[in-house]
């Protein structure tokens, strides 16, 4: 995260410089195709909401989570590349649905697990799952 802040200034300058070019290009492209994907689809908005929820619920006190400042807990496993992990809690195959189930009710998945039930609502669990899915 520190590096992204260091990059911000030169990037902003660059953006200012190429703005006129971009405006022209955009105008030209828009004329041709009405639907453009700017990469801020629903899932990205979801993921950003998820990141905020991860901060609010303090998941970082137990997990190391890339992209979340101060998330360096060592109680549970690191969530680095969690999107690639084959099993959650070492027990269920990692799929969007099982992730939501795991987040809402870890003991329902593995009665012995030390991950607590944090009382997440389903839409919260979905948003968090969307963020975790970007870590791969």
């Amino acid at each position: 995260m520190r590096s992204s802040r260091a990059l911000a200034v030169p990037l902003r300058r660059l953006a200012k410089g190429i703005r006129p070019v971009l405006v022209l290009l955009t105008a030209a492209t828009l004329a041709g195709c009405p639907e453009l994907d700017w990469g801020t689809g629903k899932s990205e908005v979801q993921a950003q909401k998820g990141a905020q929820l991860i901060r609010d619920y303090g998941c970082g006190s137990c997990h190391r989570i890339p992209g979340i400042t101060g998330a360096d807990g060592l109680v549970g496993p690191s969530l680095e590349l969690i999107g690639r992990r084959a099993y959650l809690g070492g027990v269920v195959p990692n799929q969007p649905e099982t992730m939501v189930r795991w987040l809402m009710d870890p003991q329902g998945v593995d009665p012995r697990t030390a991950m607590p039930n944090l009382g997440l609502a389903e839409d919260e669990a979905r948003a968090i799952s969307a963020y975790l899915d970007t870590l791969k």
């Binding site: 190391r64 360096d72 060592l74 109680v75 549970g76 496993p77 690191s78 680095e80 590349l81 690639r84 992990r85 084959a86 099993y87 809690g89 070492g90 027990v91 269920v92 195959p93 799929q95 593995d110 012995r112 697990t113 030390a114 991950m115």
Partner: protein
């Protein structure tokens, strides 16, 4: 320098290149004939050699798999034929959810990829291509003359579906087969991986020799970049093992030897690790301290 430059610098460049090339060839020949490269399968390739070979392997497979037209997999009986063929021909080397490969397979170099990993990371056509052709110099046999095309697609369908199976689901499916004799499973005869000076060194070798690298990313171990289980970097500082057991040396040894005794639902299989090797592995894992970012 000024004098040299007047006298056609290109001559010196060419001469230097020529000498370097000659040295390269002589060096290469000596390297081969003096047997300098260590072919022992007890040690993984060096990191640069591993990286190059691994890249070449992946590129070769994905290039050739592009030409395959995969049929829709719904048409294949993955729960019956696919599961049975996989259990009888593949589990011995690649394992299945909660089932370890045979002892001999854990000692292979390269060690066969964990089933869960290929299920998630390989496309349907890549799986089919590898099953059909095998992979030279790895020990992966080609099945072209042993399985029919339909059988190979059934195996592919099973592998893809196995990504959705927990260890428990898998056991249930196998039990429902009409030929439910068990196969694979933990190593029958205990292996021993105890060369090395210190317990940590012996442990680091044992972690390779028992195939832990097929499922875990482990810092400092060449080729250990799989994400079937959690990454083991920082495991020394982790509060729990597998989220259920306080992280003490005794518990770690117990976990490594029999994960299912601790968490019956766990997808990590028992690998037939001896007490001594597990002790060394625990010593090695204790060196994997968390590095604060």
């Amino acid at each position: 320098m000024i004098i040299l430059r007047r006298k056609k610098p290109s001559v010196y460049v060419v001469a230097t290149l020529f000498v370097l090339m000659l040295l390269g060839i002589v060096g290469g020949v000596l390297f081969v004939y003096l047997g300098l490269y260590n072919v022992s399968a007890l040690k993984q390739h060096t990191q640069p050699v591993y990286a190059v070979v691994d890249k070449a392997l992946r590129a070769s497979i994905s290039q050739r798999a592009e030409e395959i037209n995969a049929p829709p997999l719904d048409g294949f009986d993955w729960q019956g034929e696919g599961l049975r063929l996989h259990r009888d021909n593949c589990v011995q080397c690649h394992g299945a959810p909660g089932v370890a490969p045979e002892a001999f397979a854990l000692g292979m170099t390269p060690v066969p990829a964990a089933n869960a990993r290929m299920a998630r990371e390989r496309s349907v056509s890549e799986l089919y291509w590898v099953i059909n052709h095998g992979i030279k110099m790895t020990g992966m046999p080609p099945w072209k003359y042993r399985l029919s095309e339909r059988q190979m697609w059934s195996v592919v369908a099973f592998i893809k579906q196995s990504a959705y199976l927990s260890a428990e689901d898998y056991q249930k499916l196998v039990a429902s087969l009409d030929t439910p004799e068990s196969s694979g499973g933990a190593a029958a005869s205990p292996a021993r991986a105890s060369t090395g000076e210190t317990p940590e060194e012996r442990g680091s070798l044992a972690v390779q020799q028992y195939g832990c690298v097929t499922c875990h990313a482990i810092p400092g171990i060449t080729g250990a970049a799989a994400h079937v289980g959690p990454p083991l970097g920082g495991i020394a500082n982790r509060a729990f093992i597998a989220g259920v057991l306080p992280n003490t040396r005794e518990n770690m040894i117990h976990w490594i030897r029999s994960p299912q005794e601790i968490d019956p639902l766990s997808a990590m299989p028992g690998l037939g690790v001896t007490e001594e090797d597990a002790e060394n592995m625990a010593s090695f894992l204790a060196t994997l301290k968390d590095k604060r970012p």
